[in-house]
């Protein structure tokens, strides 16, 4: 019973970064918008490029290409605005994508211990095996600071 429940088709948005495709659960997507001016100001959060203004809201732009495909991509076709959860709070975050996006229904299979934290699962589509992204793990947030503090603490504790 449980296995069949997990394999029920769900909606996903397929996005393209360079030559690769990734998926995000459709219920985590707010909208897809054309690129607009990115406002930049000094800060120290590496993955954040700046912010865009969208319907009166200020939305951070998070470049995830380096994490996902190993290099920065300078062309961008759209911003996929995803909902990022921080505990009970949720905020929009704009992810630059380089090609068309597509809405599909597919069955997601679970992750294995060797998968990166940003992998929420896998799905098969058009002969490709596609990573389903965990937006909360992929984009920066207060957890990043806690993880860094733990790493620093571990380093300091070493003899």
């Amino acid at each position: 019973m449980r296995v069949s429940a997990e394999l029920e088709p769900q909606s996903f948005v397929l996005l393209r970064l360079g030559e690769r495709r990734f998926a995000v659960a459709a219920n985590q997507i707010a909208e897809l918008v054309a690129p607009s001016r990115v406002f930049r100001f000094p800060h120290r959060t590496e993955k954040i490029e700046g912010v865009i203004l969208r319907r009166g809201r200020i939305v951070p732009v998070c470049d995830v290409a380096e994490t996902l495909v190993g290099k920065r991509l300078h062309t961008r076709r759209f911003y996929l605005i995803a909902v990022r959860r921080y505990g009970k709070q949720a905020e929009w975050v704009a992810l630059p994508v380089t090609g068309e996006c597509e809405l599909i229904n597919a069955e997601m299979s679970g992750t294995s211990a060797s998968d990166a934290p940003h992998v929420a699962g896998w799905l098969s589509h058009d002969g490709d095996v596609i990573e389903v992204l965990n937006i909360d793990a992929l984009t920066p947030g207060p957890d990043e600071i806690r993880a860094e503090a733990v790493t620093m603490g571990t380093r300091e504790a070493r003899p």
Binding site: P42, T45, I48, V51, I58, V59, P60, T139
Partner: protein
């Protein structure tokens, strides 16, 4: 019959100063700025200070019984070096902020909290972001320029009292209080 939703009250305005450092725009609440002075007017009133590992503060000025540390805004934010032309004395802090110039005085009606994706030092630097004339400007936090640790470092590096330069009461200084500037602009 369900109660009618409460009507939103009039948006509360906050007076702000839009200023520049190394070509980057920032805003600060006018209420946080005690004085705006030209760098020239402060020459001769400052003493040099060197705190190890803290390059953003090179000068200190004695104001009555308190020492104000002059923070180079460009060095604080990691921007391209800039000589700075004006100094904002920030109320209720020990910071005087060196900036390039004032763009304008205006008001904001909405301050959006810094998105949680920004998760490093910038959370101390800014009160939030505001949209002004179709651009987004960070609104600085006056207390965010010097942490308690940095203040302790600076206090420890203070020059001995006889060498401190006392202020001459602003006799020769071009001192502008913020309200005065506002009416002039």
């Amino acid at each position: 019959m369900p109660p009618a939703p409460a009507k939103p009250g009039p948006a509360r305005e906050e007076q702000i100063i839009l200023f520049r450092i190394s070509g980057q725009h920032f805003a600060v609440s006018s209420a946080s700025v005690q004085e705006v002075r030209s760098v020239d007017s402060m020459s001769g009133l400052t003493a040099e200070i060197t705190a190890p590992g803290l390059r953003k503060v090179r000068h200190v000025v004695q104001r009555g019984d308190r020492s104000l540390f002059i923070v180079n805004g460009a060095a604080h934010f990691g921007l391209a070096p800039s000589p700075g032309a004006l100094i904002f004395v920030l109320r209720k802090t020990r910071t005087a902020l060196l900036v390039d110039g004032i763009e304008k005085m205006t008001s904001m009606t909405r301050l959006q909290a810094l998105p949680l994706s920004f998760c490093h030092e910038e959370r101390r630097w800014y009160r939030g972001l505001t949209a002004l004339d179709q651009t987004v400007v960070p609104v600085v936090q006056p207390e965010g320029f010097l942490s308690a640790d940095e203040l302790a470092l600076l206090d420890a590096a203070m020059p001995p009292p006889p060498e401190r330069v006392a202020e001459n009461g602003g006799q020769n200084a071009v001192e502008n209080d913020v309200e005065g500037m506002e009416s002039a602009t």
